[in-house]
C-alpha cells in the first residue's frame, strides 16, 4: 500500500472540496473520496444466474461553521465528481451547516492523526488480473460440490462470487491527508435439500482480502450442503429452560449486539443497558472481546479511521470485565475520553462509531466436547428476526438448530424462539469453544449459555 499507488485524482477531489468549503466560511472541514470497482456473479446449478459489474465514485464532505456556543455541522455526499458539482456540494454543505444548532462538542479530532501507514496486507495486486470467467468457475465448483454431497440436495438459491477493489482518500483542514487501497473477495453458497415434500436451505461462505486466502470452493459448497441436509426433518421442541450453544455463525451476532451497546453514542445517549458498567464484570470470566483495526489481512483493517486517527487494538471485555467503549472523537469528548480509533465513515453517511475486526477469544473445547457436556439442550445454527433491545438488553429471536439429549445431537429443530436478557446471557456463558471462525470482520467461536428460555410447543 502506498499513496502513489492510489494516484492523485481522489486526493485532488478531496483538496478541492476542502478548499471550497474553507473559502465559503467553514471553520473546519473533512472529506472522503471513495472509488470502487466490483464484480458479482451468481451461478445456479451449471447456469449463470447473473453477472454484474460496477464502478462507483463518491465524495463525502463534512463542514463545521463557527457560531456562538460551538460549531454547527453538516454532511453531504455526491456521486457527481465534476468540479462544478463538487463546488456546489461544498457550498450546500456550508449553507446546511448554518441551519443547524451550535454544538460545543462538535469538531475534528484535536490532533494525533495517523503518522504511519503500515502495510496491513489489504490487497494482492495480482488479483486484479484474475479473469471474470475464473471467478465464475469457482461458483460453479461450489454448486457442483454442494449437489454432490447428498441426493437430497435438489436445488439452490445459487453460489455467488464477489470481488471488489476499493480506494479511499481522506483529508481534513487540520492538514491530514491519507489514502489506501483494499480489496475484498468472497464466495457464498446456499443449497436446498428436500425430503418428504419439505425443503431446507442453509449456507456457508468465505471472505478474504486476497483470493488466495479464500476457502476452497469445494469446501464451501460441501459445508453449505451438509448444513442444509442436517436440517431435514426438523421439528419443534417443548417450551422450557435449557442450555443453549451458539455455533460460530450465530455467536457472531451476540458480539454485534455487545458492540452496539458499548458504542460511545449509545453510552452518552443512555440507550445501552451497559451504560453504567465500565470496569465492572458484565460477562463470565471466559469472555474476552477484542477489536483490532490493524490485524494483518483483516476484512475491516485500515491504517487510519474515518477521522484520520490511527486504528489500534482495543480490548473491550477482558475476562468478563468491561474495559473500553468504542469511540470516535465526538462520542469520546461527550464522555471525557480520547477516541479509540473507531470512527467509521462511509462517503454517504455521517461519521459514527463502528467496529473493525471484532472477535471473541477462543477457549479450549471443541464443539463436539461442548455438545458432549450438554445433557439436554439446543445447538443454535440460525437466528432470524430483530428481537434485541439495546436499552434493556432484552433478547428474543427466532431460531433453528439441533436438539441435544444425553450429550449428543438427536434431531434438527425449527420454529422455536430463544429468549433472555443479553446481560444475563453474557454472565451465563459457561463454555467457550476453540473453533474461532473468520467469515467476515466479526468472528466468534462456539459459546454455551447455561440457561435460556426456548419457546416451542
Amino acid at each position: 500500500m502506498s499513496q502513489a499507488a492510489v494516484g492523485p485524482d481522489l486526493i485532488l477531489v478531496v483538496d478541492r472540496a476542502l478548499a471550497r468549503a474553507r473559502a465559503q466560511g467553514a471553520a473546519a472541514a473533512d472529506a472522503v473520496c471513495l472509488e470502487s470497482d466490483g464484480l458479482e456473479a451468481r451461478v445456479r446449478g451449471e447456469e449463470i444466474d447473473f453477472v454484474s459489474q460496477a464502478r462507483e465514485r463518491t465524495l463525502g464532505i463534512r463542514v463545521f461553521v463557527s457560531g456562538p456556543g460551538g460549531l454547527r455541522s453538516a454532511v453531504t455526499s455526491t456521486s457527481d465528481l465534476s468540479a462544478d458539482a463538487v463546488d456546489r456540494m461544498a457550498d450546500a454543505t456550508v449553507a446546511l451547516a448554518k441551519a443547524t444548532a451550535p454544538d460545543p462538542t462538535a469538531g475534528l479530532p484535536d490532533g494525533d492523526f495517523a503518522t504511519d501507514l503500515p502495510d496491513l496486507a489489504l490487497i494482492d495486486p495480482r488479483d486484479r488480473e484474475v479473469p471474470i470467467e475464473a471467478r465464475i468457475a469457482t461458483a460453479k465448483q461450489a454448486e457442483a460440490a454442494a449437489r454432490a454431497v447428498d441426493p437430497r440436495i435438489v436445488n439452490s438459491e445459487g453460489s455467488q462470487v464477489t470481488t471488489g477493489f476499493r480506494r479511499v482518500a481522506y483529508g481534513n483542514s487540520a492538514f491530514f491527508r491519507g489514502s489506501f487501497e483494499s480489496a475484498s473477495h468472497g464466495l457464498f453458497s446456499e443449497p436446498i435439500a428436500r425430503e418428504n415434500g419439505a425443503m431446507q436451505r442453509d449456507y456457508w461462505m468465505t471472505a478474504a482480502r486476497r483470493i488466495a486466502d479464500l476457502e476452497a470452493p469445494d469446501a464451501v459448497g460441501r459445508h453449505a450442503a451438509e448444513r442444509a441436509v442436517r436440517r431435514l426433518g426438523a421439528k419443534r421442541v417443548p417450551t422450557g429452560e435449557v442450555p443453549v450453544i451458539f455455533d460460530p455463525l450465530t455467536a457472531r451476532s451476540l458480539l454485534g449486539h455487545v458492540a452496539g451497546c458499548v458504542s460511545g453514542y449509545a453510552i452518552y445517549r443512555e440507550s445501552s443497558f451497559l451504560r453504567e458498567q465500565m470496569g465492572e464484570t458484565i460477562a463470565s470470566e471466559r469472555v474476552t472481546i477484542v477489536d483490532d483495526g490493524r490485524l494483518q489481512g483483516g476484512l475491516a483493517s485500515r491504517p487510519f479511521d474515518g477521522e484520520g486517527l490511527p486504528t489500534r487494538r482495543n480490548v473491550l471485555v477482558e475476562k468478563g470485565r468491561l474495559r473500553s467503549w468504542l469511540l470516535d472523537s465526538y462520542s469520546g469528548r461527550k464522555l471525557g475520553l480520547p477516541s479509540t480509533g473507531n470512527a467509521s465513515r462511509g462517503a454517504a453517511s455521517a461519521p459514527g462509531v463502528g467496529t473493525t475486526n471484532l472477535w471473541l477469544e477462543p477457549g479450549d473445547l471443541s464443539l463436539e466436547e461442548m455438545i458432549a457436556r450438554t445433557e439436554r439442550g439446543l445447538l443454535v445454527t440460525e437466528l432470524i428476526g430483530q428481537g434485541f433491545q439495546p436499552v434493556t438488553g432484552d433478547y428474543s429471536r427466532g431460531a433453528a438448530g439441533l436438539w441435544i439429549e444425553g450429550g449428543r445431537v438427536v434431531h434438527p429443530v425449527e420454529e422455536i424462539t430463544i429468549a433472555g436478557n443479553l446481560g444475563e446471557m453474557l454472565r451465563a456463558i459457561d463454555l467457550v469453544g476453540n473453533d474461532l471462525l473468520w467469515l467476515g470482520a466479526t468472528a466468534a467461536p462456539s459459546v454455551r449459555v447455561a440457561r435460556m428460555t426456548v419457546a416451542g410447543e
Binding site: V51, A97, S271, R397, G398
Partner: protein
C-alpha cells in the same frame, strides 16, 4: 416537476440523454442474441436533519446519480452500472452487460416510444428536498419540546425528518420509454423514558409520497409523538412475556407485517420460478382460512409502497395473492414473468441504479372481514394481544417466519391484561394463515414507515390488516 413527462426532459437537459442515444445503447446490447435489454437512469437527492439532546446537531444532503444497463438471455442476466451518465459509459456498460450472451444477434436497431404513466399517484407542488431546511429544523425543536412536556419520565428524544426526491427513466428493447418522479418523506420519533433504574424505549413514525407540509402540521405529528411517549411509558410497567403456544389477536395496521413475512416474500416470482419457496407450485390450493383475502396494491395514492410504474417501467396494479383462502398469484418482475409464462405484475423493484430489479412487494394487506374487534378479543380465553411490531424475517424455503412485538398485552378471560415486552411470534408461512379464525371489520394501513430488505436491497413498502385472531401460534418470551 410533478408532470410525469418531465423525467425524459430532465435527463435530456442534464445529461444529453435522448431517445436516439437510448436507442443506440440498447442497439449495442442487442448485437448479441438476447431476450430483453433495458436501461435505468436515476437522479436522486435526499436530505435529513436529526435531533438528539434537544439539539439539531447536524444535517445531511446526498446526490446519487447513475445508470444501469441490463441484458437478459434465457435465465441469465448481465448488468453493468456506472455513475457517469454519458453516451460513452453507456456503450461500455452495454458491452459488459451483453457478455452473458455468447450468440450473435440481429442488427441491433430498436426504436423507443416515449410514454407517460396514465396517472400520477403522488403529485407534489414542492419536492420535499426543496423545502427550506429551517422548517425541518424548527419541526424537530417543536417535537422535542412537546415530547418532553408530555411526561417528566421522558429522558431522551430522538427525531429525524428524511426527504427524498427521485427521478427515474426506464428504456427497454420492447420500446418502453417511461419515467417517474417519486417524492418520499418520513418522520421518525423515538423516546427513552426512565423510572428509577428502569429505562424503556418507544418509537413511532409516519411517512409517504406526499408534500412535506403534511408532516409539518401539528395535527399530524402530535399523535405520532403521543404514541412514541405512550409506548415508552407503557413498557416501563411491562412484564416479561410468557413463552409457549397460545391464541394471539393482532391489532389493525402495522401488524400486517405478518402478511409481509408469512406469505408475501414466499409469493415473489423469483423464488417460485426457481421452486425454492414453500409456496412453489401451489396456485389454486388453500393456503389460508376461508375469508382471508390478501392483496398487494401498488396503486394507492400517496402510500410509501406505491409506484406509478415499477423500476422496469411496468405500471403497478392491484394483485390478488390469496382470495378467500385460495392462492391465486405471485408477484412478478419481467424476467420471472417471461420464464413462468405469465404477465408482469408491476412488482419489479430495485434499491437504485446500482442494483438488479427483483420481484418485490408494494403495499400488502388483508381485506376486512365482518367481526367486531371487541368481540374478537372477548373470544380468547388466555392469549396475547399484539398491536405493534419492530420487524420480522422469513426463511422462504422452510417457510418459517418470525416477528417481534414492541407493544403487546396478555388476554385473560377475554379481557386485556398486563402489558408484556419481548414477545416474538414464530410460525410457518404456509400454515399460519390457516389458523386465522376471526377477521375484524377494521382494516387499517400502517403509518408509512416500512422498509423491506431482500438480497441486500432495501425498498419502501406498506402493510395493512384488520384485527385478526390466530389460533395456537408459538410466542417466544422469557417466562417458560
Amino acid at each position: 416537476m410533478s408532470e410525469t413527462a418531465a423525467p425524459l426532459d430532465f435527463f435530456r437537459e442534464r445529461f444529453g440523454v435522448d431517445d436516439r442515444s437510448v436507442a443506440a445503447t440498447l442497439g449495442t446490447a442487442l448485437e448479441r442474441r438476447v431476450d430483453h435489454a433495458d436501461l435505468f437512469f436515476e437522479y436522486a437527492t435526499s436530505d435529513s436533519v436529526s435531533l438528539e439532546e434537544s439539539l439539531v446537531k447536524t444535517g445531511d444532503r446526498h446526490l446519487e446519480q447513475g445508470v444501469g444497463v441490463r441484458v437478459q438471455s434465457g435465465e441469465r442476466q448481465g448488468y453493468a452500472h456506472t455513475d457517469e451518465i454519458t453516451l460513452e459509459s453507456l456503450k461500455l456498460a452495454a458491452g459488459t452487460a451483453r457478455a452473458i450472451s455468447e450468440r450473435a444477434g440481429g442488427p441491433g436497431a430498436v426504436a423507443v416510444h416515449p410514454a407517460r404513466p396514465s396517472r400520477d399517484l403522488y403529485p407534489v407542488a414542492t419536492p420535499p428536498t426543496e423545502v427550506p431546511v429551517e422548517k425541518k429544523v424548527a419541526l424537530l425543536g417543536e417535537i422535542d419540546a412537546y415530547a418532553r412536556g408530555r411526561d417528566p419520565r421522558v429522558k431522551q428524544v430522538m427525531a429525524s425528518v428524511v426527504s427524498q426526491h427521485r427521478v427515474v427513466l426506464v428504456a427497454a428493447s420492447d420500446g418502453t420509454l417511461v419515467g417517474d418522479v417519486r417524492p418520499l418523506v418520513r418522520l421518525n420519533v423515538s423516546v427513552i423514558a426512565a423510572d428509577g433504574t428502569r429505562r424503556e424505549v418507544g418509537y413511532q413514525g409516519m411517512g409517504g409520497r406526499y408534500e412535506l407540509a403534511r408532516v409539518l402540521d401539528p395535527a399530524a405529528w402530535r399523535p405520532i409523538v403521543d404514541e412514541a411517549v405512550r409506548a415508552a411509558l407503557l413498557n416501563l410497567d411491562a412484564k416479561p412475556c410468557p413463552a409457549g403456544t397460545m391464541d394471539v389477536v393482532l391489532g389493525p395496521g402495522w401488524p400486517g407485517v405478518l402478511l409481509h413475512e408469512a406469505v408475501g416474500h414466499g409469493l415473489e416470482g423469483d423464488f417460485n420460478r426457481k421452486k425454492t419457496s414453500a409456496f412453489s407450485d401451489r396456485i389454486g390450493e388453500r393456503v389460508a382460512a376461508p375469508g382471508v383475502t390478501v392483496v398487494d396494491d401498488g396503486t394507492i395514492a400517496e402510500r410509501r409502497g406505491s409506484l406509478n410504474v415499477d423500476d422496469e417501467g411496468t405500471p403497478t396494479q392491484r394483485n390478488v395473492l390469496i382470495e378467500d383462502g385460495i392462492l391465486r398469484g405471485y408477484l412478478q418482475d419481467r424476467l420471472n414473468a417471461r420464464l413462468m409464462g405469465v404477465a408482469p405484475t408491476g412488482n419489479g423493484r430495485r434499491e437504485s441504479y446500482a442494483h438488479l430489479p427483483m420481484p418485490r412487494m408494494t403495499n400488502t394487506f388483508m381485506l376486512a372481514g365482518q367481526d367486531d374487534p371487541a368481540d374478537i378479543l372477548r373470544s380468547v380465553k388466555r392469549g396475547l394481544y399484539a398491536v405493534s411490531f419492530a420487524g420480522g424475517q422469513v426463511d422462504i424455503t422452510s417457510g418459517k417466519f418470525v416477528f417481534s412485538a414492541n407493544e403487546a398485552y396478555l388476554i385473560e378471560d377475554g379481557k386485556l391484561g398486563a402489558a408484556v415486552k419481548g414477545a416474538t411470534l414464530i410460525g410457518s408461512g404456509p400454515e399460519s394463515l390457516l389458523r386465522v379464525s376471526r377477521i375484524g371489520n377494521d382494516l387499517a394501513l400502517d403509518r408509512g414507515v416500512g422498509t423491506c430488505g431482500k438480497d441486500g436491497q432495501s425498498v419502501p413498502v406498506g402493510v395493512g390488516m384488520p384485527t385478526i385472531r390466530l389460533d395456537q401460534i408459538t410466542v417466544g418470551g422469557t417466562q417458560a
